[in-house]
């Protein structure tokens, strides 16, 4: 991982981002935060519909058609800005630079937990949309009313909250390592 990070740091695109650090990075991070807001709120609103706390004048499929595209559009924006952030500071994203040395590398746990949870979250979202599209009536009449469905929706929402928290923790590896700040 150190080798990969070092290689990224030798690329021209990294040098470009890094040389314009103070202007590009905050802008990219701001767009990242706005995209987080778009994705999180869209998922939140679909979950509110599943809980029965909002959107009572819409069916579930209407709610998903309304907010689903924002989830995917926002995710694309997140991937683009996320890659730009990695290219700017690969070592800091992949590794815990405070603890890593030449022969002992420590991974930035928050980053890798976040990546793993995103993979799970996206798979769950794809599976949900496919299942809903194929079993629309069953969802509206039966699945939606089950408390297990609401619990699962709450669990996925919690998962996305953890993803956001992990994203913030990338900047604070000491939270996981227990070392000094």
């Amino acid at each position: 991982m150190t080798g990969f990070a070092n290689w990224l740091e030798s690329t021209g695109i990294h040098l470009f981002f890094y040389d314009n650090y103070a202007t590009i990075l905050p802008a990219v991070q701001s767009i990242h935060i706005i995209a987080v807001a778009i994705v999180f709120t869209s998922i939140f609103l679909i979950d509110l519909k599943i809980f029965g706390w909002a959107g009572r004048n819409m069916s579930l499929i209407q709610t998903v058609r309304r907010y689903g595209p924002w989830v995917w559009g926002g995710l694309i924006l997140l991937v683009i800005t996320g890659i730009m952030m990695i290219l700017t500071e690969p070592t800091r994203e992949f590794l815990d630079p405070g603890r890593s040395s030449a022969d002992n590398e420590y991974w930035n746990l928050a980053f890798w937990i976040k990546m793993g949870l995103i993979a799970v979250g996206v798979l769950v979202a794809v599976a949900f949309q496919r299942h809903l599209r194929r079993n629309q009536e069953h969802w509206e009449q039966s699945i939606l009313t089950k408390s297990r469905t609401k619990m699962l929706a709450g669990l996925t929402l919690l998962g996305w909250i953890v993803i956001i928290v992990m994203g913030r923790m990338i900047a604070f590896p000491a939270v996981f390592s227990g070392g000094g700040a």
Partner: protein
């Protein structure tokens, strides 16, 4: 007692010291701030876009506003609590930070815009609640709100880059410890 004196006192309070000096508190407070902002921003933008007729004017505006704005307020309360905690930890730095002051003014504008909308524009909502485009004033309020909230997010993120000295040209890990 001048403002700086007040800022110093705030910073020296038990809560301020606790947030500043414990290893894990500040990271989690700022994570909470992000989640709160995401919910405030997202729910407000959905309502603003509806005023602009996006995706359409088909569904009732009041129903949408009722569904969403309560969450906006709950999330806003969390944003204020986490924001105050971050402020207390470094009150003297924030108090003299221009971008922080800009952010507070932008928040005030967003509040005034919302107040005027709720106080006056909303009165005629019966005529445009669904099926027809919102009047020009309502659309303007929605567009202004989107602009203000995007600015608030950008300025807020930029505060983190102006709190300390400019980037020195040294080891990334060490240098970044300073900002965050």
């Amino acid at each position: 007692m001048d403002m700086l004196e007040i800022a110093r006192t705030l910073e020296a309070t038990g809560i301020g010291t606790w947030v500043r000096e414990s290893r894990n508190v500040a990271p989690f407070v700022s994570a909470l701030h992000i989640i709160a902002i995401a919910t405030v921003f997202g729910t407000i933008i959905v309502v603003d876009l509806r005023l602009l007729g996006i995706p359409s004017n088909r569904r009732s505006f009041t129903q949408l506003a009722n569904d969403l704005l309560k969450w906006t307020w709950i999330a806003f309360a969390f944003a204020v609590i986490s924001g105050v905690l971050m402020f207390l930890a470094n009150a003297t730095v924030f108090y003299s930070n221009t971008l922080f002051q800009v952010k507070m003014v932008l928040l005030l504008f967003a509040g005034v815009n919302m107040y005027l909308f709720e106080r006056f524009t909303i009165r005629g909502v019966g005529a445009w609640d669904s099926g027809v485009p919102a009047p020009r004033f309502a659309k303007a309020a929605g567009a202004l709100s989107i602009l203000l909230w995007i600015s608030i997010v950008f300025v807020g993120r930029w505060i983190g880059y102006t709190k300390s000295a400019p980037m020195p040209d040294i080891d990334l890990g060490d240098a970044l410890g300073g900002f965050l």
